[in-house]
Subunit: 404 residues, 2 copies
Amino acid sequence: MEMIKGGVCAAKGFRANGVHCGIRHNRTKRDLALIVSDVPASAAAVYTQNLVKGAPLIVTKQNISDGKAQAIICNSGNANTCNANGIEIAQGMCDLIAQQLDIRACDVVVASTGVIGQPLDLSPIRSGIPALCAGLSADGGKYAAEGIMTTDTTVKELAVSFTLGGKTCHMGGIAKGSGMIHPNMATMLVFITTDAAISPNMLQKALSQDIQSTFNMLSIDGDTSTNDMVTVLANGMAGNPEITAEGKDFAAFMQALNTITVQLCRMIAGDGEGATKLLECIATGADTLEAAKISAKSVICSSLLKAAMFGADANWGRVLCAIGYSGADVDVSKIGVSFRSAKGTVTVCKDGSGILFSEELAKEILLEKEIEILISLGDGPYSATAWGCDLTYDYVKINGDYRT
Amino acid sequence: MEMIKGGVCAAKGFRANGVHCGIRHNRTKRDLALIVSDVPASAAAVYTQNLVKGAPLIVTKQNISDGKAQAIICNSGNANTCNANGIEIAQGMCDLIAQQLDIRACDVVVASTGVIGQPLDLSPIRSGIPALCAGLSADGGKYAAEGIMTTDTTVKELAVSFTLGGKTCHMGGIAKGSGMIHPNMATMLVFITTDAAISPNMLQKALSQDIQSTFNMLSIDGDTSTNDMVTVLANGMAGNPEITAEGKDFAAFMQALNTITVQLCRMIAGDGEGATKLLECIATGADTLEAAKISAKSVICSSLLKAAMFGADANWGRVLCAIGYSGADVDVSKIGVSFRSAKGTVTVCKDGSGILFSEELAKEILLEKEIEILISLGDGPYSATAWGCDLTYDYVKINGDYRT
């Protein structure tokens, strides 16, 4: 497997674009994104488990119920959620794009992200679609990536090439964070494309399995969004024998998918609202996978630990506290904690109690931009990783006045 | 029932004091508190459900296993948690106070609050105890209240008088917040005293029942502390017939207790770390008590909603989002949301969708210091209240560098 350029256009037969259509006031911010496959593709998706669901998710779920899709349209600046006419508007977006591209409206995936509970006007979208479609190109992945950004400060895209049945395949993805991020059995907005041939069933299986250890282990602020969605389109244009069952090819596909999703998790966490640091909590030695996952996720969700990391303060008591209230079945007297970064590693707790350590070294390690929090839970065989970020003044600033 | 002065010394036969003994560097901050009953009292307590438990909790649990206690000693500045010799130190605190007061060490409740994982030195406590005991008085409640404060900015104490079996009884309490506050089947540090006569069993029953709708419905930052504890001492000196079963007297006792605990919840929430506002979320119309409680608590725990309240932004979509991911079984299409304060009430959402409202009025309402978030979940008979605070720059500041 190799990292390549091109994002969601790295795979054969995919074109993309992103434009400013006027949903947002800032005319320099693209607010409408489009990804199109030359041919209908296998489609799979996972959605938020929040009971309050964005209207676009309901329309998308219906549209890909046959396992097929050909285009993804997504606006930013308005979530089209908790609006009385939300379904109608989301359906309208599909109709408009289908008409312009001459494809079936039921082959369109629709997504929205932004403020909840403000009516979404179809007019700017209607007037933006001709330019959006006219500008579709195999170089447009980054414009689509920009079009779905909300409070994100960095574009999140990547792609890999890999081999299936002797054929070179490609897979790429884009994502948006960066607040209301605490996926629960689903995730924030992520769109992944591949030219690998895989049946809709196996594609859904791959995605549903992958997110358990990737997006579901990510949290920016503990708030599970109403509009979370990950969608994968696989158009088969790489020409590999279609994957229809588990086996070597499915494993290779899973590996490529996991490479994309783990990196997108890291990108989303590192660009969390107001974040100055990417936190990666690695739990090892657990007796069960569940204990490892729950412990790691609890640590990166703790507001107190997140604030301590912002201050580069090796306040490991907050790590133990977060493990203790996580609900994970662990033996506190066996817990060890270390902090690791490019500057080195410092162990601060062994067997559930503090040990002497160099505060200077700890400070130096924690001043880095990427911090690993290593928690050792005992002698068990299970481990898990969770991703998050620090809690900063800017998180409060961004969210104290996001809507107005 | 009447509100009276005196805090934990309002009840007959209780004296208290608080001194600076040197655990903290700041010589103007009292860091050691003591509450003493003239006679052994019925004692009840509830503790944190965090698996990581402070050593003082383990010693206290043992000491009051016979349902009796006579004194409460508590230091601030160090939690005595995750220390290899923690139990020995907590036991040492009991021994020292018992010796000085000539009571049994096993009748002492011991508590600690502050940084986790730093060894607690007994020397300053040993040298502070003579002055602490010498200064015990019926006017010392406020000194004890000061002695247990950590990042609290206000003293939290109150008292009531009430009648049982024709006798006037008194009950008072003190509390400390103000970070790592998300009680789970227990609570932060609260000490309550009363001169009512009640058996240890009924006292425990009253306390365990009360906290379900009070301290367990309070959250500052989602972090369940390792050292949470509420203790009630009832010394019987009011002379009422001892309460040994449910009935009219037990109900009157519960009412007095609930008055104390609800007000302490409000005080703790309003003085949450960095907080500028007290948030009170009142859920009504739920089909089950659980749905009402889970919904209300989820709303006041949302970082996004807390930040919006700091910015006086009527971003009600975050309220719906938080109800949606709470796990409560609710019908989203029936949810209504209003914001209320001394400036009036504004309804912002009906039947799960936004409605037109005056942004000016909403802003005026949300600029107040005490905000009620009213969520109507349907036509059911159940309601619940949860308390919290806004998320501010100062929360990040306080916790970015608490330890060093």
